[in-house]
Amino acid sequence: MSRLPVNKTAKVYVGGAFIRSESNRVYPLKDAGGAFYANIPQCTRKDLRNAVEAAAKAGPGWAKRTAYNRGQILYRLGEMLEARKAEMADAVAVGGAGKAAAAREVAVAVDRLIYYAGWADKYEQVLGNVNPVAAPYFNFTVTEPMGIVGVIAPDEAPILGLISLLAPVIVSGNTAIALASEKQPFPAIVLGEMLATSDLPGGVVNLLTGFRKEMVPTFASHSHIRALAGVAGAEDRKTLRLGAAESIKRARLIKAEDKTDWSAASAQSLYAIRDFLEFKTTWHPIGA
């Protein structure tokens, strides 16, 4: 008799811990063949609220890490993903992608992490500057992270899309609460396990699974979330922007209908980092 495999209980990674939804609700994930694969936590707005609290706790410390250190941690995450790429490719394949395509997606996701890891101690040099003001002042503009960023992952490229959105957000010291693809959540479940073994402090990235329809309004309205990064259809974009208006949240939304090619070189950019930075300008007199 062949051995019965031990199935993994899917848990989401929030505040450095693996949890199921506070509601205890789950929804069944089926594989491409229609067979039951796993029960996915159906996170609620309370889970989102808790994730925001976790991010708020982790944020100041993460932002204070040196850029060099943040770069190393992102690189380490790349190492983790590289080492467990087969497992991640399997998770991607649950959604129906062929083995080769899934492996390709994971490889690009690793490269994407490496790309952003390298930016950690450089973007400031490119985006900030000293300003030659017409008075005896030393005036300089630096970048700072915005704070807590809500990330809404696309359905296509469930791991590459998620990482392409997450990495530029966290590399500068922001924290993130990401909603995984509703249709293909399993790579996010696996990513949580890799995050836990990387050196990323708990709470910097919080991954939620669940129904968009339930979660998007809270992403929109939670005023402690300072910015939104995500892929959304027209209706969700409007919901997110309406909610964002109430607390002047920055919304950087990619149209779902544009069908972004996440494996393209154009899907990674210095300006994706810039989108989640504030610019701070400091003046100081020059005098003895």
Partner: protein
């Protein structure tokens, strides 16, 4: 103007002698020194659309009144939706036509021309600005107008160097841009908006604030004199409805707004279903933080400049003073002395330090908030300076014994009213400073360099003034964190907000 003191401090000092006091009286009273340059106003201003002054389709006009004496200055055209539409059509034609095709070096020359023509007519513009808006002539003359010219001059030089704005990427103009600006720095805000938009190759429809349209329409004369192609810049005048029409029109690829957070939110909601790019420069409630090792004399000047510059009608005004407890008494005493020397009155008098409140409505708002401060238990101090009998004026005001929960410590007053709070430690200062939904600016005063950099890092504000306050420059990006808005104006960062990455 005799300056009386309302300081009730009568307690005897050491040795039973009365405490020494300085007398800021009328021994040497200054004669009126009105600025006499002719502002060259027209009796009636039409809309500026497609390079021409055109009558509004509605045929309606409204009065622009001088806040200094409540006299009517001119009639201003009221733009309706059809006028706004015509302006956008003109802007689109200009973008698809000559302006869109023009090489950057030629656009640059137009902007240089505007800067020069404005410098040549600087005094005339300064007088018009003070008449229409109520700000002291010395500010419009020494700050608003020269700084507006500087913005055109700075951005002109960018127009043919745009490949350096976004390293690694090519930039392109967005197209037509809609802009709505406030009444506190009418010409300067207009320059902040126009110069980067035009340098980047966009065309513009702009609405000035209804109480301060005149210098925009005078700038339209300069735009004509500069020979700018018709439709590159269009000015539509009117109040909130006109502004809504400018913001909600389908044509602009981007809208930029400077004004209150309240109106900013309305605009954001209205545009939620569109893909328009936005920048918002909204309200503030800046903390100005004084440590005990600060250069106190200059800090006092910085506090005064921070809150009384332009009657406090400044989004980045240092309206919350946070004083380190060891020096709180000294700082407050010096502030009381200092505000006795401030001269409140006729905006056109060259010696006026605090001019007129921009509108009756704003004056009422300031009064209501000051009343709330008194009711909530804060201690009010005002010098008993005489105010002109006509016009809208408000005495410079200090509130002590203010707590974090008072309305005057939380809400933007947009007037010459300073709320004074104290703190004991660096951490407490940071917490109090950041305890607001706003995040536009902050001030820090200390002689310790490393503390300045620490504070500058911790304060959630887009501009941090260390050992100074209220400094501006076209090369220096300006804009807020949190609910003070997003996007920057000025510098390389500001330009990118008028571009798309190719």
């Amino acid at each position: 103007m005799a300056i009386l003191t309302q300081d009730k401090r009568k307690a005897a000092g050491r040795n039973g002698r009365p405490l020494p006091e300085l007398i800021f009286g009328d021994l040497w009273e200054f004669d009126p020194a009105p600025e006499s340059a002719d502002p060259k106003l027209k009796a009636r201003y039409d809309l500026f659309v497609g390079g021409d002054f055109v009558a509004p389709k509605s045929g309606r006009y409204f009065d622009s009144v001088s806040p200094g004496n409540e006299q009517k200055l001119a009639e201003i055209a009221l733009a309706g939706p059809a006028d706004v539409d015509a302006a956008y059509q003109a802007a689109r034609r200009a973008f698809e036509g000559p302006w869109g095709r023009m090489p950057g070096r030629e656009r640059a020359k137009y902007l240089f021309r505007i800067a020069r023509l404005l410098q040549e007519r600087a005094r005339e513009f300064a007088v018009a600005e003070s008449l229409d808006g109520g700000k002291p002539i010395k500010e419009s003359r020494d700050f608003d107008v020269p700084m507006a010219a500087a913005h055109f001059f700075y951005h002109a030089g960018w127009a043919d160097k745009l490949e350096y704005v976004a390293p690694g990427r090519k930039v392109a103009p967005l197209g037509v841009v809609g802009q709505v600006i406030p009444w506190n720095f009418p010409l300067l805000m207009l320059a902040w908006k126009l110069a980067p938009a035009l340098a980047m190759g966009n065309t513009v429809v702009l609405k000035p604030a209804e109480t301060t349209s005149i210098t925009a329409l005078k700038l339209a004369e300069i735009i004509q004199d500069a020979g700018l192609p018709p439709g590159v810049v269009n000015f539509v005048t009117g109040a909130g409805e006109t502004g809504a029409a400018v913001m909600n029109h389908p044509t602009p690829a981007k809208v930029a707004f400077t004004g209150s957070t309240e109106v900013g939110k309305i605009i954001l909601r209205a545009l939620a279903g569109t893909e328009k790019k936005l920048t918002m420069e909204l309200g503030g409630k800046a903390a100005n933080i004084i440590f005990d090792d600060a250069p106190i004399g200059q800090a006092v000047e910085g506090i005064i400049n921070g809150i009384f510059f332009n009657q406090g009608h400044v989004c980045c005004a240092g309206s919350r003073l946070l004083v380190h407890e060891p020096v709180a008494e000294e700082v407050v005493a010096k502030l009381r002395q200092r505000i006795r020397v401030l001269r409140v009155g006729d905006p056109l008098d060259k010696n006026t330090d605090i001019g007129a409140i921009n509108s009756r409505e704003q004056l009422e708002k300031i009064r209501a908030l000051v009343d709330s401060g008194v009711k909530e238990g804060a201690q009010l101090f005002q010098p008993l300076c005489r105010l002109p009998s006509k016009g809208w004026y408000f005495r410079p005001t200090l509130f002590t014994e203010v707590t974090q929960s008072h309305r005057i410590a939380r809400e933007e007053i947009f007037g010459p009213v300073l709320s004074i709070l104290t703190f004991r430690t660096v951490e407490e200062a940071v917490e109090k400073a950041n305890n607001t939904a706003y995040g536009l600016s902050a001030g820090v005063w200390t002689d310790k360099g490393s503390r300045i950099l620490k504070m500058s890092t911790e304060l959630k504000a887009g501009v941090v003034w260390a050992n100074t306050y209220n400094k501006f420059d076209p090369a220096s990006p300006f804009g807020g964190y949190k609910e003070s808005g997003f996007g920057r104006e000025g510098g390389r960062q500001g330009l990118l907000d008028y571009a798309q990455l190719a």
